[in-house]
């Protein structure tokens, strides 16, 4: 039975209603005469505290509130890919059709296209016993993704009828029978966004997500099914890095959540992705992408919901057996939305005004990442990377700290690097990946056996450099012995010729893992030759002057096809130049 109540207070995105006894937590509510979309987030006696997903201007006490009896849910089915949604899964294209250039409120739009027909082919037969989460058929959703239609979790029974053919999402494709009761089946189902979708078991992530970004793949890799945080002050590269991940990561599906950030950044994705080619599938990137855009000027409460909407969609594709990667930019805006609503509810504030449950909300969210055996036995994964926007760029604040306690990878952005246009501005001394050790095996087996040892050598040089820099700051570079000056030279090559990677350069934007390996190896080889030359009494100045260094520096701009040839040339030339250094 729908509960009906009356508004007694409106304070920004928070509405308080009376007469709501019987209403449930997280139930979706229709608020006011315009029936704005809202959600119960607190209950107290007859009162319900409702966060409203639309602007509440003009709403008056005395107007009605209607319960829907349903928790906030996502519609999961074909048509999510290539779409762009707001935080509560309203398609922005559809909204544009109805209300033009600006988003009006009170629009009731379905998350999935109700008119489109999909070619469904069942993979089970009449009379078959089916279990929750089982794949009951497939349909082509995009050029690269086969949509595997799932029996909703928590439902099972016997197939009484199942049909092949063209179906709209609201057309039944068959019926399920259980103890005499019949349930129609559809190519989609709903799932409450705040509840993790069930699976059989979690597995240890043991395979890297290759991103094509050198500093990430070589030094601080994230596993498929893993979690990473990327905190940084404004302009340090959170968004560009996350865009790069969604462009080049070798996962099947990308869910990109723009949470309380800029409108133009979403427009950029919308403009680029239909043109950029996925190196893996050869099709355009949009074919595997779902976008959620709840920009900073869109209602705050819907911003809070957006990360849940996103992760629910990610889990859904995981349950089909896909490798999914979700980027959230920025989780700080989500935390701030929590803070704002909590403040309006006059809850006891915790650190910096954030509610005491901030840490557990963050943990629950990242906990939804993972590599799992799904209910249907397939293996799927959801990787999550969250941008964090610390006030003043200071990582000691609560959102960064609570996030770092949960995520296994830390990509620390550094404004002093960004200021000098060293991009990605990821500080190699502060960042870490707790997957690095576990993934070493994969890299050594699948790329090259000295992959890990090269990485360690390179990192050692960078660490030595930073120690030596401290000395230089005190006494100047002249005071260092030759061998240490060589370390500075080689470390600079690692920084400038390897770590720096220009997201806007046609070739440099993506670097295959093989090329990454080769590039680093060339630099280390140079170090070997140079150490040897030092031993023969040759000065660092002379070594630094060799023209082979320019060749090494330009390797990043060599397209994949030309790499092998170029390598031969470089090694030949290196050998020659060092021999000539008598």
């Amino acid at each position: 039975m729908a509960i009906k109540g009356e508004i007694i207070k409106v304070a920004g995105p928070l509405v308080v209603a009376d007469g709501m006894r019987g209403s449930t937590m997280y139930e979706v509510m229709r608020v006011g005469e315009e029936r704005l979309l809202g959600e119960n987030i607190g209950l107290e006696g007859d009162k319900a505290y409702i966060q409203v997903y639309e602007d509440t201007t003009g709403i008056k006490p005395g107007e009605g509130v209607l319960g829907t009896g349903m928790p906030l849910s996502a519609s999961l089915g074909p048509g999510l890919l290539k779409n762009i949604y707001d935080g509560v899964q309203r398609p922005l294209m559809e909204i544009a059709e109805r209300s033009g250039d600006y988003i009006e409120r009170g629009l009731d739009v379905s998350g999935l296209d109700v008119n489109k027909k999909w070619d469904f082919a069942p993979s089970i037969a009449k009379g078959e016993e089916v279990k929750a989460g089982q794949i009951i058929g497939t349909l082509p959703e995009s050029k690269v993704i086969e949509h595997r239609v799932l029996l909703p979790p928590r439902i099972n029974g016997t197939i009484k009828e199942i049909n092949e053919g063209k179906f709209k999402i609201d057309d039944p494709i068959g019926t399920l029978e259980k103890s005499g009761e019949e349930t129609p089946l559809y190519i989609y189902h709903k799932w409450p966004v705040r509840i993790p979708r069930p699976y059989i078991e979690k597995m240890e992530p043991d395979e890297p997500m290759i991103t094509g970004q050198r500093i990430l793949d070589v030094f601080f890799p994230i596993a498929k099914g893993g979690t990473a945080a990327i905190p940084g002050g404004f302009g340090t590269g959170k968004t560009v890095t996350q865009h790069q991940l969604s462009r080049w990561s070798d996962t099947d599906i990308i869910v990109y959540v723009g949470c309380g950030e800029r409108g133009n950044e979403m427009t950029e994705v919308l403009k680029d992705f239909p043109k950029l080619i996925d190196p893996k599938s050869g099709e355009v990137l949009m074919e595997r992408t779902v976008l959620i855009a709840n920009t900073s000027n869109m209602p705050v409460a819907a911003r809070e919901a957006s990360v849940y909407t996103g992760i629910t969609m990610a889990e859904y594709y995981r349950d089909m057996g896909y490798k999914v990667s979700l980027m959230a930019d920025s989780t700080s805006r989500w935390a701030e939305a929590l803070r704002e609503i909590s403040g309006r509810m006059e809850e006891m504030p915790g650190e910096e005004g954030f509610p005491a449950y901030l840490a557990s909300r963050l943990a629950d969210f990242y906990e939804r990442a993972g590599k799992v055996t799904t209910l249907n036995g397939k293996v799927g994964s959801v990787s999550v990377t969250g941008a964090v926007s610390p006030p003043g760029g200071d990582f000691s604040e609560p959102v960064t700290q609570n996030t770092l306690r949960i995520t296994k990878v830390f990509w620390a952005l550094d404004s002093s690097l960004a200021d000098r246009r060293h991009f990605p501005a990821i500080n190699w001394l502060r960042s870490y990946s707790l997957y690095a050790e576990e993934l070493s095996k994969w890299f050594d087996e699948n790329v090259a056996e000295d992959f890990t040892s090269n990485r360690k050598d390179a990192m050692r040089l960078l660490q030595q450099e930073s120690e030596l820099q401290e000395i230089v700051q005190l006494v100047g570079p002249d005071a260092l012995p030759e061998r240490e000056r060589l370390v500075l030279e080689v470390a600079r090559m690692i920084r400038e010729d390897f770590l720096m990677q220009n997201a806007y350069h046609d070739v440099d934007t993506y670097c295959s893992i093989e090329k990454q390996y080769e590039m680093l190896k060339v630099i280390l080889k140079f170090h070997e030759y140079a150490s040897d030359a030092l031993g023969r009494g040759i000065s660092v100045e002379k070594i630094a002057d060799l023209s082979i260094r320019d060749e090494v520096a330009r390797m990043k701009y060599i397209p994949q096809e030309g790499v092998e040839m170029k390598l031969k040339e470089i090694y030949g030339e290196m050998d020659k130049e060092f021999k000539e250094l008598a």
Binding site: G235, G263, G392, A553, R554
Partner: protein
């Protein structure tokens, strides 16, 4: 919402006056965000807005302040409307106060179109990505932090720094190459002094741009709370001019710091849990609501470019006002006191400055094919030179290698020749890039790692002569 039935209700039941807020008791059906008209016991009229609507009371913020209001003789009328402004092209060349009332003795603006000043969020799907290069004639901007049409790019400044001069110079010189289009400047002053606002007006007058200006003036001695509405008035007008009248609109909002102080005052009066340094936790969202009203819309000819000016308290870029602004805007120009002290104008410190949309607006066909390389190389060379300066301060110049000394010299020349220019010097992008090459040519050619070989061949002075 325009057709809303207007029920006018008047109350004399002001129960409490606290700071800029009043609480009106026994109000029935006051809407959140509704505009109220207040009449003081002495007959003075003021405007306010409902901040919190309860079933028996309404919390109202009074834009002109609460002095002279009391709990007995004050009348409050609820208008049943949200804040609206009549918009029309007649506004060009006109001056208004911070609440949109004419202050130039001209007639009231009468228009069929009355827009809600809060606007509505632009649908990201309907946005057009900004990509048209605006030449400002200023090298540190055009080459290093290129401005594009539809961008929101603030100036982070400090008291006593020439941000007004810079903003005026940009407004004066800005143009999109090869285009003659209708432009307009919407100027919103928030708590700046009469002198400052006069400086802008004189400058606009000098260039004959006065007929293209719409100004909303809330000056230092005007009510502080009023300035919370001023940028909304300006942006609503800008939206009309850009997207209904096809104009290229530049919006100058100055000084956002005063706006944020007013926001803090309201928040404190409501006894809200304060965020960092007493500013409300929702300041990010509040600022975004204004800043995001920049941009282009697909299929429309006009555009809104936004330039916010803000003074960083204590020159501290991590202060919540510049910090939250930088998190929303598409870059920032940062002025440096140190450069200013050295007598350098404009004292733009390029290192912390940024234009996030630059990549879209530069290159062959837009500026010149060498633009990105030159800019990146100038950045890295200048950054390196600045490091050398720090080093020299400790170990002395003798301890530097020859290479290091070159960079040290580069940084000095960069500031003196590239950054420095006259207040009316309008450099073309070619001049700016050539100047960049001039400086870069003092470094060994192999140090120019950020520039492609073929570009060096084509543009390096050594190869050109």
């Amino acid at each position: 919402m325009d057709s809303q039935e207007i029920k006018i209700r008047e109350y004399t039941s002001v129960g409490e006056v606290s700071g800029p807020l009043i609480v009106v008791q026994g109000v029935e059906g006051a809407a959140y965000g509704e505009v109220v008209e207040i009449e003081t016991p002495s007959g003075d009229k003021r405007k306010g807005q409902v901040l919190e609507a309860r079933s028996d009371a309404a919390v109202v913020q009074v834009f002109e302040g609460t002095s002279g209001l009391d709990t007995s003789g004050t009348k409050v009328r609820f208008t049943g409307e949200t804040m609206k402004i009549p918009v029309s092209v007649e506004m060009l060349g006109r001056f208004f106060d911070g609440l949109g009332r004419p202050i130039d003795k001209g007639p009231e603006i009468i228009s069929e179109s009355r827009y809600d000043v809060n606007g509505a969020p632009m649908n990201p799907y309907r946005r057009e990505y900004p990509n048209e290069f605006i030449q400002t004639g200023i090298s540190t901007i055009d080459c290093m932090n290129t401005l594009v049409r539809g961008q929101k790019l603030p100036i982070f400044s400090g008291s006593g720094l020439p941000h007004n001069e810079l903003a005026a110079q940009i407004a004066r010189q800005a143009k999109v190459l090869g285009k003659e289009e209708q432009f307009a400047v919407v100027f919103a002053a928030m708590g700046i002094t009469y002198e400052e606002s006069n400086f802008f007006m004189k400058d606009f007058e000098k260039t004959g741009a006065m007929e293209r200006i719409v100004a909303f003036m809330n000056l230092a001695d005007d009510p502080a709370i009023e300035r919370l509405i001023t940028p909304k008035m300006a942006l609503t007008t800008a939206e009309y001019l850009a997207f209904e009248e096809d104009m290229q609109v530049l919006v100058i909002l100055t000084d956002m710091t005063n706006y944020c102080e007013a926001l803090r005052e309201i928040s404190a009066s409501r006894e809200e849990v304060p965020g960092r340094r007493g500013y409300p936790g929702y300041m990010y969202t509040d600022l975004a609501m204004s800043y995001e009203r920049a941009g282009r819309i697909s299929g429309k000819k006009g555009s809104i470019t936004q330039m916010q000016i803000l003074s960083m308290p204590d020159d501290d870029i991590t202060h919540p006002i510049p910090d939250l602004t930088g998190y929303i805007t598409e870059g920032q120009f940062v002025l440096s006191r140190e450069l200013h002290r050295k007598g350098i104008y404009p004292p733009v410190d390029v290192l912390p400055s940024l234009s996030r949309l630059m990549n879209q607006g530069i290159g062959a066909g837009k500026t010149r094919e060498d633009h990105s390389g030159v800019s990146n190389q100038l950045y890295s060379a200048y950054a390196e030179g600045r490091d050398m300066r720090d080093l020299v301060a400790v170990v002395g110049e003798e301890a530097l290698t020859d290479r290091d000394k070159k960079y040290l010299e580069f940084a000095d020349r960069f500031e003196r020749e590239f950054v420095t220019q006259d207040r009316d010097e309008n450099r073309s992008i070619e001049e700016t890039l050539d100047l960049g090459w001039d400086l870069l040519s003092m470094l060994p050619e192999r140090e120019l790692k950020r520039i492609d070989d073929d570009i060096i061949e084509k543009y390096h002075p050594k190869h050109r002569s």
